[in-house]
């Protein structure tokens, strides 16, 4: 069993708006091990991106506030660090890849400058050394002819190449943890397959831990070792990827998996979850999935289910599971 790099305990993140407190993340706990890809899966507004931003303490201020919990990276609670100490963590220990490569790069700097920025910031190297680092970061992400491509501007590159540049920036200081927020959603199918294969390789080479945020179960199956399924700010079920697909225990997990059309067989009708996710401003008192759940009981509407461990590394929050 390899080392736990990041431990998140009972994290609560809220946004304080005029309409009231929006509990975007409401008491979630998980851990990520060295060299492991941990998937956070869920639909829009389930809190997966806010979890990523909370770890980096990059929530939009002043509305977004971490109300409680601990985020422990290699023994240090990130929530107790000063702003300056946090700046040293970002990019060096933890880095992030955002969804859209069209907007996450600066159009007026060359890609070499943008990758070099984090190298200069953290490693204080002379210029020629910075360039070698930049070239090696580009090479790590499989960009052909990195020596010449580093003088290119983002607009000279395709979407897939730009997302590789974003990956190079994230990996340039060899972080211990990478938070990838839907990095392949904006990419085409064959380019997505390339990108995922690349990350499997990079992980083998560098042993980086990855938190992979996505809504796509196909991506989960191909890259994640363990998965947490989120719904309306809470984790419903955590398990290894094969357990999630083969023996999901939470009704939401199985409904979600069944509602995805399959490529390997012809379905006449898709299983669909009726209704919509609840508003985070006005959450149901019991289980959040209760209003849409096919197996709902009386207790589900009244009390929140506790998290129960039912197998090795398999936890479920559901009254049906004991």
């Amino acid at each position: 069993m390899s080392n736990v790099i990041l431990q998140v305990e009972d994290l609560h993140t809220s946004f304080f708006t005029r309409a009231g407190e929006v509990k975007a993340v409401d008491g979630i706990s998980f851990y990520v091990r060295e060299g492991e890809t941990f998937g956070l899966v869920g639909e829009s507004a389930c809190g997966k991106t806010v979890t990523g931003l909370s770890i980096l303490r990059l929530l939009p201020e002043p509305a977004g506030i971490i109300v409680g919990g601990k985020i422990i990276l290699e023994g240090k609670n990130l929530l107790e660090l000063s702003k300056k100490e946090m700046r040293e963590i970002r990019g060096e220990k933890i880095s992030m890849i955002l969804q859209d490569p069209m907007t996450s790069l600066n159009p007026v700097y060359t890609v070499g400058d943008q990758i070099g920025e984090s190298v200069r910031q953290h490693q204080h190297l002379p210029d020629d050394m910075v360039e070698t680092e930049v070239v090696s970061a580009l090479r790590l992400l499989g960009i052909p002819a990195p020596e010449s491509r580093l003088h290119d501007y983002p607009f000279q590159m395709s979407g897939g190449m730009r997302q590789r540049v974003v990956g190079s920036i994230a990996m340039s200081c060899r972080p211990r943890l990478l938070i990838a927020d839907e990095p392949t959603t904006a990419l085409d199918a064959t380019i997505q397959a390339q990108y995922l294969a690349l990350f499997r390789d990079i992980q083998k080479q560098t042993d980086v831990a990855i938190i992979f945020i996505t809504h796509d179960f196909g991506v989960v199956a191909s890259i994640c070792h363990r998965v947490a399924v989120m719904y309306a700010g809470k984790i419903m079920e955590t398990a290894s990827t094969s357990t999630i697909f083969k023996t999901p225990k939470h009704p939401y997990t199985s409904a979600l998996i069944h509602s995805v059309p399959r490529l390997d067989r012809k379905d006449d009708r898709l299983y669909s979850i009726e209704g919509q996710p609840p508003s985070l401003l006005n959450l149901p008192p019991g289980c959040r999935f209760a209003p849409r759940c096919p197996d709902v009981q009386d207790v589900c509407h009244k009390q929140q289910p506790p998290e129960v461990e039912i197998g090795e590394g398999h936890t479920v929050s559901c009254w049906k599971v004991k």
Partner: protein, 348 residues
């Protein structure tokens, strides 16, 4: 004999690339380059491909939002470009409607749902206000919304509900063909299934034809009767959906299926080979010589970079690939040989 509603014959759309003060034409982007297909009544044809494949250009041509460079669109056997203005207004446009990809940008935020759904009726029919209002309520119920939703504005709805409103608007004039441009890709996973089921129900109920544009193959398999796989402005494989998914003939189709199939990590051990294509789709401004796919093809041969492959008919499928030039491969295939897992079928 299939009842053909709309047919595209050798459609081409080339956009000029201009340069300098005088806007001289220095080249052509061949966005769609010789595409033929048929849409049967009550059936779904899907156009599949990555960005830049030309699928949206085909859809725009059918909606008459783009004038083709050459080619013919036949609607119920009649050439659309020979329709008079009044024929277009009375016959063609009401029969061909569309649902756009993004329900956040396809509706005027300052119009109530009532007016959004009523707009096609106001423009195209001479119904009275009362008739229009009762039709709007009927439409909203058909797509699973409540009649009182007519009084709300689009921002008061979730993405899935908005897409239902867009479907209601498309159905207002009882069209025979609906062009669905990525109808579910902007929606959440649990909502996608609702909308896809709705679209299928409506198709059965009203004998609608759909032209679906999509990049997600699993969505396509669920929705379609026929599929056309597009690459760089051309259809590389075309056929009945189940046949194409069960027996993909073109190496690009196989790579796409391999990239989209849901596969667990431990399945790799059981010898399922994933095909990962190298490189990216080349620019349509300067497409590769010969077969346009040869630069990324895992099975490319010498001939592929020199000669563009002819279209071959194998069973019910049409495919453009040099692998099938060999008559022995063709006969092996028609006697039930399954290509794919071990690479190219070997001539016996």
């Amino acid at each position: 004999m299939a009842d053909i509603l709309l047919e595209g014959r050798d459609l081409k759309k080339h956009y000029p690339v201009t340069k300098g003060l005088l806007q001289r034409t220095v080249g052509w982007v061949r966005a769609v380059d010789g595409v033929s297909f048929t849409i049967e009544r009550g059936k779904t044809l899907s156009l599949v491909g990555e960005s830049g494949a030309g699928k949206t250009t085909v859809a725009k041509a059918i909606l008459l939002l783009e004038r083709l460079t050459s080619g013919t669109i036949l609607f119920e056997g009649k050439d659309v470009y020979k329709f008079s203005k009044s024929q277009l207004k009375m016959e063609y446009r009401p029969s061909v409607q569309s649902v756009q990809q993004n329900p956040w940008s396809s509706m005027d935020p300052r119009m109530r749902v009532r007016d959004i759904v009523a707009e096609p009726l106001v423009v195209n029919t001479k119904h009275t206000k009362e008739q229009i209002q009762s039709r709007v309520k009927e439409l909203l119920q058909q797509v699973g919304l409540a009649p009182n939703h007519a009084d709300y504005y689009p921002h008061e709805f979730s993405g899935g509900q908005r897409q239902r409103i867009a479907v209601a608007r498309a159905l207002a004039l009882n069209p025979s063909l609906v062009v669905l441009d990525e109808p579910v890709s902007a929606l959440d996973v649990s909502i996608r299934a609702q909308i896809m089921n709705l679209l299928k129900d409506l198709q059965e109920q009203y004998n609608l034809s759909y032209l679906v544009i999509a990049h997600n193959l699993a969505t396509v398999r669920f929705m379609s009767h026929n599929v056309a796989i597009m690459y760089l402005g051309q259809i590389v494989e075309y056929g009945e959906a189940e046949e194409v998914f069960n027996r993909p003939l073109h190496p690009y189709t196989r790579a796409l299926i391999s990239a989209s199939i849901l596969k667990l990590p431990e399945d790799d051990v059981q010898g399922v080979q994933q095909i990962i294509l190298s490189g990216e789709m080349p620019s349509p401004l300067n497409p590769p010589s010969g077969c346009r796919f040869h630069t990324r093809c895992v099975e490319a041969m010498d001939i592929c970079s020199k000669v563009a492959p002819e279209e071959r008919v194998i069973g019910q499928q049409r495919v453009k690939c040099h692998i099938y030039d060999d008559p022995s491969v063709q006969s092996a295939l028609s006697s039930g040989f399954q290509p794919g897992t071990e690479g190219r079928p070997q001539p016996s």
